[in-house]
């Protein structure tokens, strides 16, 4: 059947990666960050997983060791940038007006808006979404997925790209685990089974109202790992 068909239609191989421009742009951005002595770290996770709360705690601690700035991504409002500024670091808010992820050109523009001197450690909080941001690197050296215990025990398994295509996972809100019938250790074990090289951390509010963050895998603490 194909003979006639072949005469009429010519098949041309293309093999073009559709996200190639985005990937290239991210690589260029990473190179220019490196050249400027900036280490970029990305945070991604569902809305309400605790990304900004984590940053509010981390920023003052990291500022003791490095010059820190934050880029916040949200569909709307500058609430998160204001929270980070209140925590002491310069922050720029990117409103995507509905877009499901940040991209490298948005981050490049936001970085230019950060005051001088530019940071040594740049934390980039992506739009709340456990799916799309994974596909769009924005010049980061490390990417971290934040998954809260309240989202359900099997979330690492249900969102494999978020575990396989990041360097670390923070299982947040472990203080809620008993109320939502979730075992955070099982979540950590899922992550390690899926991606043995991934770092895993737990976070929860302790009795004094402080966010406590601990390594769940016996490795270095989160701050040291982020600083690199």
């Amino acid at each position: 059947m194909c003979k006639a068909h072949h005469h009429v239609v010519e098949e041309i191989d293309l093999d073009c990666v559709v996200q190639e421009e985005d990937i290239k742009h991210s690589e260029q951005l990473k190179a220019s960050f490196r050249a400027a002595g900036v280490r970029a770290v990305g945070l991604l996770g569902s809305p309400g997983s605790g990304k900004t709360t984590l940053l509010e705690t981390l920023v003052p601690r990291l500022m003791k060791k490095r010059r820190v700035a934050v880029i916040e991504g949200d569909l709307a409002t500058d609430n998160d940038a204001r929270r980070i500024q209140a925590a002491g670091a310069p922050a720029v808010e990117l409103n995507t007006d509905g877009a499901c992820h940040l991209d490298a050109s948005m981050v490049e523009k936001a970085f230019a808006q950060l005051p001088e001197p530019k940071p040594e450690l740049l934390l980039i909080e992506n739009v709340g979404n456990l799916v799309c941001p994974v596909d769009f690197p924005v010049g980061e050296e490390l990417r971290l997925a934040v998954i809260s215990a309240a989202e359900g025990e099997d979330k690492p398994l249900k969102y494999p790209a978020a575990v396989l295509r990041t360097e670390g996972v923070i299982i947040s809100k472990t203080d809620l685990a008993p109320y939502v019938h979730v075992d955070p250790h099982k979540m950590a074990a899922y992550v390690k089974t899926m991606n043995p090289r991934s770092r895993v951390f737990f976070s929860h509010f302790d009795a004094t109202g402080q966010l406590a963050i601990e390594a769940a895998d016996g490795g270095s603490n989160l701050e040291d790992w982020l600083i690199g």
Binding site: H7, V8, V9, E10, E11, I12, D13, L14, D15, C16, V17, V18, Q19, E21, A99, C100, H101, V131, C132, V134, D135, F136, L157, P160, A161, L164, R165, Y190, T193, M194, P196, R197
Partner: protein
């Protein structure tokens, strides 16, 4: 929900490659990696909607699933992992690097030959 921008990129890549023969492009084959956060139906829908604004109005989009491929970091063997934990069939190592299944790729296009 970034399938619309992916569909626009597919149309851009094919238009560029077709260079003057856009109206003769028929089937475009695109592979979608299993780890690319892409919804096939949304990609097809966006393609159909956006192609009307291009010269590729006779083109149809065919999607293929691209499985995950892992490269064993211990022995270098490339394999298609099945279930977690990903295990190298040669040396049983669990340490790997993903080599395929993350991208959306325009594989090929068919162009109707001119008279």
């Amino acid at each position: 929900m970034h399938e619309a921008s992916l569909a626009a990129n597919v149309l851009k890549i094919v238009s560029r490659a077709a260079a003057g023969k856009e109206s003769r492009v028929r089937q475009i084959t695109v592979s979608v990696g299993q780890l690319a956060g892409v919804m096939p139906d949304a990609l097809l829908f966006a393609f159909e909607a956006l192609k009307k604004q291009t010269l590729l109005t006779s083109a149809t989009l065919k999607l293929e699933k691209e499985p995950v491929t892992a490269c064993c970091e211990d022995c270098g063997h490339e394999y298609q992992p099945q279930a977690f934990p990903y295990t190298c069939p040669i040396c049983q190592s669990h340490v790997f690097r993903i080599t395929n299944g993350e991208a959306v790729t325009v594989k090929r296009m068919e162009i109707k030959k001119g008279d």
